[in-house]
Symmetry: C2
Subunit: 428 residues, 2 copies
Amino acid sequence: MKFYKNPPKSEWAEICSRPALESGNLTTIIEDIFNTVATSGDKALRDYTLKFDNARISELLVSQEEIENAAAQISNELKVSIALAINNVRQFHSAQKLERTIIETSPGVECWQEERPIEKVGLYIPGGSAPLFSTIIMLAVPAQIAGCKELVLCTPPDKDGNINPAILYTAAQTGVTSIFKVGGAQAIAALTYGTESIPAVYKLFGPGNQYVTAAKQFAQQKGVAIDMPAGPSELLVYADETANPAFVASDLLSQAEHGPDSQVVCVSDSEKVLKMVQAEVDAQLALLPRKDIAEKALANSLFVNFDVLKEASQFINEYAPEHLIICSENEKFLVKNTLNAGSVFLGNYSPESAGDYASGTNHTLPTSGYAKTYSGLSLQAFTKKITFQRLTTQGIRTIGPAIETMAEAEGLQAHKNAVTLRLNEIKK
Amino acid sequence: MKFYKNPPKSEWAEICSRPALESGNLTTIIEDIFNTVATSGDKALRDYTLKFDNARISELLVSQEEIENAAAQISNELKVSIALAINNVRQFHSAQKLERTIIETSPGVECWQEERPIEKVGLYIPGGSAPLFSTIIMLAVPAQIAGCKELVLCTPPDKDGNINPAILYTAAQTGVTSIFKVGGAQAIAALTYGTESIPAVYKLFGPGNQYVTAAKQFAQQKGVAIDMPAGPSELLVYADETANPAFVASDLLSQAEHGPDSQVVCVSDSEKVLKMVQAEVDAQLALLPRKDIAEKALANSLFVNFDVLKEASQFINEYAPEHLIICSENEKFLVKNTLNAGSVFLGNYSPESAGDYASGTNHTLPTSGYAKTYSGLSLQAFTKKITFQRLTTQGIRTIGPAIETMAEAEGLQAHKNAVTLRLNEIKK
């Protein structure tokens, strides 16, 4: 744990810097996998799945029977919880639909936007110890609301060639149209180029390890869009004396348990609060099953004390946290001045877990300072906005001369001509 | 000009394919320029400007005096036209502001989005024969409405070290905060890393040649966001017998004059209409100053006749044009079924030039089929959406148990714990 007191601005960039992700060395491996999948299709996917996942797969597509069997393996309690989460995520993202508003910018010139789904989207869900079925909710529910036609989910199988039932069950509840037993860079390659079984998609979503991340970057160069650049998960808590130190500690630990490279930051106007949080972290840590992971993440964590609130706020913007919890009597000031953050949690009863699972907001958020530029996922990540315009004869009369003048000044005579012809026709 | 009659779907992908952009060979050149700019800063920029633009520049920043002098060199007619265009673009993009709507997804669980500007944006404007001042309007006006703090414009100087007065004048009218005399990949490198004079930015916007395009892709790998992938400009017109063939031809030509690699497509239910359009194209072409360029673009143009309207609509979606003009008695059907397009122009009096300059819609749009995935620029390209949430004690009671169940099922005990602690506190 690193402690800073009123660090000068000149040091902020260094304090806020995240460990650089190494992906350069992976380029050759990724390129090789992409080329092999492009050439050998499904066969390459089966070979890689045997090599990397130790699983022998004949049929890549998960069958209807497997999906139905999954439901029987899920407790009723979990089903009810998933239903609540889906309902809240659906409500929040449905409210993001663009309303068509026609703007008459000049007399006779009507302009508006309409939203259309991205037709084919690829959803990647990692394998490993924890089945991240909550991420399916965060990706598939907005895709479904958007009206995407193909929601193609790829996830690696276990050694026996099976997918965790919670993943299959959640996918079935959220309109996923097909599920394939393939993971890693080879899954991303399949979604990029398409194979006999797996359709090529227009945009890729979802978390993954360094190989998946590098593969998504490679896919982007091949013309497939991606959700956002990926990095380890992060939480910054601003806590003053109105914050409950035990709650703050539990939130910091919930972030720290994600992985040894998770980033955890606590900012306060009070050294006393920081010490109380620290003591609570130590006490709660001992009881955690993922103690070893959390401990490593905590070793790199930052505790920062600022006497001046405005400086604290500026520091938060420089850090640009993925998750930001604000427990402060100065909440109003901090909210207003928060420029860079993925998702913000207000008050003592809004833990980050709420947004991770069930409040309704999306948990796919920009990390590594990308909150300076990128938004978390919303309905609009699954749609395009098309602009429309209609000019009447009055409209072309109103703005036509300006178009002619500007086109001429840019040396584009045919652009001018398209207006002149119409104006002449009207004069007849 | 290539003519197709009811081409089978199996051939659409081939017919719709655009010439591949070569950027692979440029990687070494671009990497070298980026490294040199990172190391030598302003000096590198001056050296490259001498080498590539034949201009000796001492001061990269355009002075206030230069900007003021530019105004005197612009005709009043052009000033009035630029003012009209700015006003319409401002109206249309101002209407895109996100309204804060609080959604109570469960009792005591409030979620909402707030929009924040991307603080620092880089606007690239190419040099060359035509001064693209209209593009400044399309980039700077939404950036200004969004509230971006730094609007940094880079554009290459002429041999005498000057910038076209129309560019300086328009930049001054649209809130650009600084203008630098540097172009090409070196400008993109400067905006990526920052130099003594030029600030690093978070997102890059604007068109450019193959070097600029490759440099933007390189910048993206270095963590700077870009507006969208670039490609040659395109227009597809759907015209039936209600269309004015002379107007259609003038629109096709306005696209064709952009460059020899511009893409021009005309789709119709009537061979007769296509022939009339063709005859008009030939007649109007002869009179154009940029005839040679337009002729080359027209050599690759497509004229496609479909007997069945639904097939025409599906073909348009497969092509996914940057610009789509619809002059048809079946406009309603075509609009409803248009899934993939950048900007759509309806009826005989809505030339593409209107959207290029002055109607209010943005002219920075997805090309090369990227309209399947990307939107054109809107206010949201210059902002991020941050999600907020506040749970009351009632809220955590309502959704807390679901969070606990899901976190446990994902093996994330600390996530569960953050809720359990709070629920226990409430019970006290």
